[in-house]
Each structure stands twice: as C-alpha cells, then as structure tokens.
Amino acid sequence: MIKRINTLILLISWAVTAHAQTINFHAWGGSPQVNRYLQWVNTQTEAEFGITVNHVKLADTSDAVSRVLAEKAAGNHDRGSVDLIWINGENFAAMKRHGLLHQNWVSSLTNFALTNPDKNRNMTMDFGIPTDGQEAPWGKAAMVFYYNARYLDVPPKNAAELLSFSQQHPGRFAYPLPTDYLGISFLKYLALTLPDIPHERLYAPVDAHSLRRVTMPLFEYLDALHPTLWHEGKFFARQASRLQRLFDDNALFVSFSFTAAEIPAAVSRFDLPTSTRTYAMADGSLSNVHFIGIPYNSGHKDAARKVVNFLLSPRAQARKKQRQVWGDDTVLDVSLLSDAQSRLFAGEQAHPAALPVNGHNQLLAEPHASWTDALREAWFTRYGDHL
C-alpha cells in the first residue's frame, strides 16, 4: 500500500515537474536559420534536461517587451508568458529601466566564464549600458553590405558613394523603418561615419545639443537620399528581411544585413541570386553583441537558466557559428577552451557570396543606448508617421 502511494506521489511530482519544463523563448522569428537552430536547441535540451524550448517567433522583439510590461502592469508577477527573451540595445535598456528582468543570475552560469568577461568588456556592456548580470551574451554581429554583381561592377564603399550610387540608380537601394533593428542601425552607421559629425558624442548619453549636432548633417544626407530610394522613400519596409526579398527580386542592387553568414546561406537556399557579393564598408562596420534575458516574472527561471547555460556551451556555440546553420559569431573566448572544444570552431570552406575572411575594415562600437530612441524619434519627427 505504502509502496503504491509512493509511486503515486512520484508520478504526481513527475507530472508537475514535467509540466513545468516548457520554456517560452521569445525571439525574433524572421530568419529560417535562426529558427532551425532553435529547433535543434530544443531537441538537445529535451534530450539532456527534459526541457522543451518553445520558440515564440516574434516579428518585433518589442512585442515581447511590451507583453512583459503589460503583465507587470496587470499584476502578473510570477506566471509570465515569457521565459527567455533575445534582446539587446534599447529593448534591454527598456526592460532594465522598468525592472522587467531577473537579476544576478548570469555569473552563476558555468559556461559564462568561458566568455572571459573580465577581459572582454562587451560581454557585460550592452550599447554602453552595464548588463549587471541581467542578461547573458549569446552572439556577435557586424553590419555587412551586399550587391548584385550582375548589375554592378563596383559597389559603393562608403556613405558618400552610397548616395551617389542611389542617385545614379534611383529606386535600387532601401533601408527599413527605424523601428526595425536594421533600420536604426543604418542611421547609426551614418551617424558614426558621416563627416561633420562629432562622433565621440555618440558614446555619451544623448542631450539636446549633441542630438542637434548629429542630426543636422545626418538629415542633410537623408534628405538627398530619400527621393532616390525604393518607392521614392514614401514607403519603407517594416522589417529588414523584406530587403533580402527585394534584392532577390532584382529590385534592389545594394542591400545590407547584420548577419554576414545569412547571405551565403540564403544563396545556397536559392533565396538570393548567385551573383550576390558581400562586402564591408570602407568607412567602418557597426558591430554589437546580442544577449538573452529572463523576465522577472517567468515561472520557470531554473529551467531557463539551464537552457542559457546550454546556449553558451562550446557545442551549441560552435554549431551556431557554422555557416550552414546560422553563422553567428561566438561570444566564447576560444583560447580558454580545451583542444577538443576549440576544434569544433575550425574554419569552413569559402563561399563566393560570403564576406571574405578579415573582410571588415574597422568595427564601430554601438553608440550609447539613449541614442537609439533619440535618433528614431528625430527621424519620425522629420519624415512623418510611418506605421
């Protein structure tokens, strides 16, 4: 009898814990590679820890941020719908400001030490804001441009050349709305590279004076660029992924991305033409680290932590770095790894559409997070409501 009761209790506790083991990972869902990678993560965590990772595909990460915010507002403090969230920059700044993130959990991850956080400051700094153990680094990215060699022999190599290219070939370049990650990144790239802008001001919190100093030359440039854009700058793509499709349509001759590996992968999947060539701008490439946070009201924090630790493992990071998988650069310091582990990161064969090795001329760090909102608002004030 007692044995039976014990079995029953075991069964019940198993059922309860099994029930608690589904993690809702809210992450941008616009890239098939990322989606497939997360499916792989799910198979691994299910096998290793019995944790199911449900990828909630977001069109826009701010959707999840506002969801957690709404939950907090509605008094839902311990059974939130978001367990993990893929963020950086202003979304992190917003979540940190509103106290939406679980705190002081990152340093307890065994694999976090492998990122060598004491040496690599950008593992604990997100767009100039200290992460304070509220989010763990996941990957690194830098902006690249690509062009269609069928229509162009020489691509524009800096902001000024980009403008003259667009004037020569009206309608063949586009950038997404600044509400999109890549859209605001394009504005930052311009702000960091256009002459007549005091670039050092972008690394300090924004104020009215520096905003004016930055936006005056910026808008002068954009005023000239917009009439030459796709749809004459009257309609902007809402999402970055739209650019890739327009490029594939041959409607755009030059485009850009924040994930260099996505381009050869898309060519292999037939989603970009074979004549696609990737390059980096001569005047510099915007670069940053992206992170994973756990909302303060997640009901599955322990399981979520386990998943993040797995995501930081050499095995998961090496797979993510493979171009056929995702091609996202690792945050681990490979010199800290064992020989067997670092062999996982060995090089791959070259692809004609891929960015050449050492293709980046200069990496530009992200401006202070306060600039994101300021630049975006200034853009909308100047160019009207685009929704």
Binding site: N24, G29, G30, P32, N35, Q39, N54, V56, K57, L58, A59, D60, S62, D63, A64, V65, S66, R67, L69, A70, E71, A73, A74, G75, N76, R79, S81, A94, R150, Y151, P170, R172, L177, W230, H231, K234, F235, F236, R238, Q239, S241, R242, L243, Q244, R245, D248, D249, N250, A251, F253, A266, R269, F270, D271, P273, T274, G384, D385, H386, L387
Partner: protein, 567 residues
C-alpha cells in the same frame, strides 16, 4: 430534458455572441477614456482622444479605411449584381458558383499575399512582358503595391468580398418560396419583352437586395477594419486606421495603448460612418434606379450589366490563375533572375523546409478549429431545432437573432479583440480559452447561416411522419433530421474549420502571439526574406480548408447513403 436543452442553447447562443463582443468593447473603452489602473491612470479623461487628434495623419488614415472599404464593397456589390443578372436561371450560374466557392475559403491573408506576388514589379505578369515588350532588364521602379490610395488593398478586399456576397445571394435565392415567386415574375417580365438582365435588375434585385443587406453591411464593416490585407499590401505613411491601431498597440511604450484604444474606438465610429454612407448611397441609387425602371425600356442597363459581369469574371479568373501559377512556380523555384519567365530549375527544398516547420502550427490550427466548429455546429443545430419546434420563424430566423449574428461581423475586430485580450489578461484566462472564444465568435455566424439554409430546405413532412409513428422530439431530431442533414452539417463543419483557419487577429491578440497557426506563420513569413517559403506557406494556407471541404463532400457519400450500404 431535450426541450430544456433547446431553450438553454438559445440563450447560450445569444450570450456567446454578445458577451465577448460586449466585454471587448467595454474593455477597450476604459483605456480609451484614460482609465488604466494598471499603469497608474485612475481618472477618466479625454486625453487619449485629444492626443489621437494631434496625430497629423489621423484624418488621412480614417479616410483611407473609408475609401478602401466602400470601394471594395461597391465593386463586390456591382459585380454580384451583374454576374447574377447575366447568369440567373442559366447553366452558367452553377459554373460560376463552383468557380467562386473555393475563393470564399481562401484566407484573407493568403489572398493578399498571392495578390502581392503578381502585382509586385518582379511578379509573373511583369516577367511575361519583359524584356521584349517593356525593355525592362531589372524590375520597374514604379510599383502597384503600397500605393497611397490603397488600390491594391481595395482589389484584394473585393476579390474576397465578391464570392461571399454572391454565395449569400444564391442561398437567399434558393429559398423555395422565394425562388418560385421570383421565377414566375421573371417569366412575366420576359414575356413582356425585357431582356434577361433587365428583367433580373427590375424584378429580382429589388426583392433580393434587402435580404442580403446585412451580409453586405458585414462585408463593408469587415473591409474597413481588416488588418492583414492593408498590412501586407497597403501604404505605410499613413496606413489604414486598423493597421495604425495594431502598430500603436504593439508599441514598446505602454502609454501608446491609451492612444491605440482611443483609435480603436474611433474605428467603431469610422465603420459606423461607412455604413451610414453606404445606406445613403443605397437610397440615392434606389431613387435613381426607380425612375429609370419606370421608363419601361426593355433592355435598360442590359449591355452595361453584361460588360461589367464579363469584365469582373474575366479579371477574377485571370487574377486567380496568375496567382495560382505564380505561387506554385515560386514554391518550387531555384534561382529565378528577373526577366526570365520561368525559374532556372525546380527543387523540393522549400516544401521540405516548410512542411517540417508547419507541422506544429497546422496542429494548433486544428486544435482551435475542430472544437470551435463542432460546438458551433452543435449549438446552431439546437437553436434551429428550437425555432422549428416552437414554430417561431420556421422559414427565416427573426430579425433580432440575425442582427445578433452579425454583431461580431459589424463591430471592427481591432476594437473588441483588443478589449477582449486586455480583459482576459486581467482575469488571467490564459491564452487558449480567449483564442477559442474569439474564433467561436467569428465561426458561429457563418456556421449558423450555412445550416439555416439547409434547415429551411428540409422537408418538414418527414418530422410529421416521425411524430405520427410516436417518436419523441429528441428521436425525430436525432434519428430523422440529423442523418438527412448529414451533408449540410459536414459542409457547415468544413466552413467553420475554414473560417477558423483563416483568422489572423483573433489568433494573434488573445493568444498573446504564443499560439502559432498556419495563418499567423504565413503572415509572418510573408514579411520575411524568402518569397519561395512564403509561396509554400500561402499554398498550404489555401489547401488546408479545401481538404475540409473535400471531406465534407466525400463523407456523406460513405455514411447515411443507401448506395454505400448496399456494397
């Protein structure tokens, strides 16, 4: 017992339509009036509305919603009228019906994506004329998509509205007592020398139109407030009001929700205004038409009606063909540089990728659609039975119920769904229940209307025979009526499933984005980087409801069919 169940079902039916919509409206009205305790707003004020009025393009947005909705409804109504006029009582009618029925179950999002494929500067029609005729070696810079007037939105809305109106009209015309009377009247008109089209316009339409007015108004309300079509095809600065509401709601700044709620309330006004304008147009057209009708011209409008009918049908068929061919081609395409008419090769890779990724969303869609449709069919049957037993409105349901039925179709979804989402978050109802309720609210009207047609046609004498043999009302319902109505019940079920499959906003909002269905995934992928994947998703979206209808057609052949028993 059975009669109690019937009575309860009647109240349940009305409550299930009114309560979610009502709760949603109240819940969106409170934040619109700046009452949102959760973010520290405790005082009623009109601040959100005044902020909304300060948005430069707000009038423009409202006008865009009005224009696209009214134009699409107008095109669909004129198209319905002219097609019926030339095909009423001809063999062509059945052919038109068969042609347009599948279009009815294509989800709005799929229609919009497919239209985007062919209107795109790199679309198949542009490739056909390039480079020989047009001289284009790269896609033209001018684009028909995202035009500031919303013309592509209007076309997509009209494509979806026309089959709905036409089939509603046909179901009305199929009512035996009406069909008889009208046929006789048309015969009289024909013997007096009126051409078939003029006879239809003068005799049938004035009787028919009042009977389909509610569906027409539902189409209008839906067209003004639809989100996914203008989101995919529409302009961005400014977008239609419904798209703006969605974007503001999703804004990271939670205080924008007050403005979004105010805009959602404004949308109820805009939709109301559209209905008023439509009723005025209706009055004007009726007066104008009445004078012309009395001139006695035997072929009045006959030529115009056939021109419009053939133009509409021709355009529709051409568009559908183009959409289908281009979707199928893209879904198998390898590289496909611009002016080439066909891709350089074909591959199965896009289908393989998508089918794996779509299995969970397809399962979710089924998990929502099946219970919702089964309950909707069951409830509708009980309500129809109750009406027939109580001899109330044996022929057509009373006006009150009809109006209740159209409530969710007349109130803009962007308004009450946001309220409903907020409300369900507030009471902690999770995500599945609110999604099921929202779907139910949209599925029930269609299922009920579709079943009501069959109930109207049911030969009541069978039930008399049943009662005469001593069967209880329950037995008559269960053993006499249901087996004979098996085919229409299956069709209603398939329709319910199809409607549920196609819901975008009712899945996205109450589901908090966590429940992915084929439709939500398809809209997400349509904004993504791969035209080929989007083609596959859209095709799957179109095929899924058709499977339901194929089953609905096949199952009655197997069951309750004497021919099948004799095997």
């Amino acid at each position: 017992m059975f009669s109690t169940a019937l009575l309860v079902s009647r109240w349940l039916f009305i409550a299930l339509l009114i309560v979610p919509v009502g709760a949603g409206i109240v819940a969106v009205l409170l934040p619109a009036l700046s009452y949102f305790p959760a973010i520290g707003e405790h005082h009623f004020s009109l601040a959100a509305f005044s902020r909304l009025m300060q948005v430069d393009s707000i009038v423009h947005m409202a006008m865009l919603s009005l224009f696209t909705g009214l134009m699409a409804t107008f095109i669909a109504t004129v198209g319905t009228l002219s097609i019926l006029a030339i095909s009423y009582h001809t063999a062509m009618l059945g052919w038109v019906q068969r042609l347009l029925s599948p279009v009815l179950v294509i989800p709005h999002a799929a229609a919009a994506i497919a239209l985007g494929f062919i209107l795109s500067p790199a679309g198949w029609p542009a490739r056909l004329v390039s480079p020989e005729l047009s001289g284009w070696i790269a896609p033209p810079v001018v684009s028909l998509l995202h035009d500031e007037l919303g013309l592509s939105v209007t076309i997509a809305l009209a494509i979806k509205a026309l089959p709905f109106m036409l089939l509603m009209a046909l179901s009305v015309l199929a009512q035996p007592h009406l069909a008889d009377r009208l046929q006789k009247q048309v015969c009289v008109a024909r013997t007096m020398g009126y051409t078939p089209a003029t006879a239809f316009l003068s005799v049938v339409w004035p009787v028919l139109y009042p009977l389909i007015r509610l569906p027409v108004l539902a189409v209008l309300a839906f067209a003004t407030a639809n989100v996914e079509i203008p989101l995919i095809l529409g302009p961005g600065s400014p977008p239609t009001l419904a798209v703006a509401v969605l974007q503001w709601f999703n804004n990271v700044d939670i205080f924008m929700r007050l403005q979004a709620s105010a805009a959602a309330c404004l949308h109820i006004g805009v939709t109301g205004l559209a209905i008023i304008i439509w009723l005025l147009i209706e009055k004007g057209a009726a007066a104008l038409f009445h004078r012309r009708r009395c001139t006695g011209a035997r072929n009045f409008a006959s030529w115009w009606l056939s021109v419009i009918a053939y133009f509409t049908l021709g355009t529709l068929i051409l568009l559908m063909l183009c959409m289908l061919i281009s979707l199928v081609t893209w879904s198998f395409a390898t590289y496909w540089p611009f002016p080439d008419t066909f891709p350089l090769g074909i591959t199965l890779i896009h289908w393989q990728t998508s089918l794996t990724a779509l299995s969970q969303p397809a399962l979710n869609a089924l998990l929502i659609a099946l219970p919702v449709s089964v309950i909707a069919v069951g409830l509708s049957l009980l309500v129809l039975e109750q009406e027939q037993i109580s001899h109330r409105a044996t022929v057509s349901p009373g006006l009150k119920k009809e109006a209740v039925l159209f409530l969710p179709l007349l109130v803009p979804g962007v308004a009450f769904l946001f309220g409903l989402t907020w409300f369900s978050q507030f009471i902690g109802a999770g995500v599945w229940l609110p999604v099921l309720v929202s779907h139910f609210v949209y599925v029930l009207p269609y299922v009920f209307l579709s079943l009501a047609v069959a109930y109207r046609r049911f030969d009541i004498r069978y039930t008399y025979v049943g009662y005469g043999l001593g069967a209880s009302p329950y037995d008559v319902f269960w053993k006499v009526k249901l087996p004979q109505l098996f085919a229409p019940i299956m069709v209603a079920l398939a329709l319910g499933i199809a409607i549920s499959f196609s819901q975008y906003l009712p899945t996205l909002l109450p589901g908090a984005g966590t429940i992915a269905t084929v439709t939500t995934e398809s809209v997400a992928v349509s904004a993504g980087g791969s035209r080929r994947l989007s083609a596959v998703y859209t095709l799957v979206q179109m095929i899924m409801p058709l499977i339901g209808f194929a089953l609905a057609w096949w199952l009655p052949l197997r069951f309750f069919n004497p021919a099948a028993w004799s095997d």
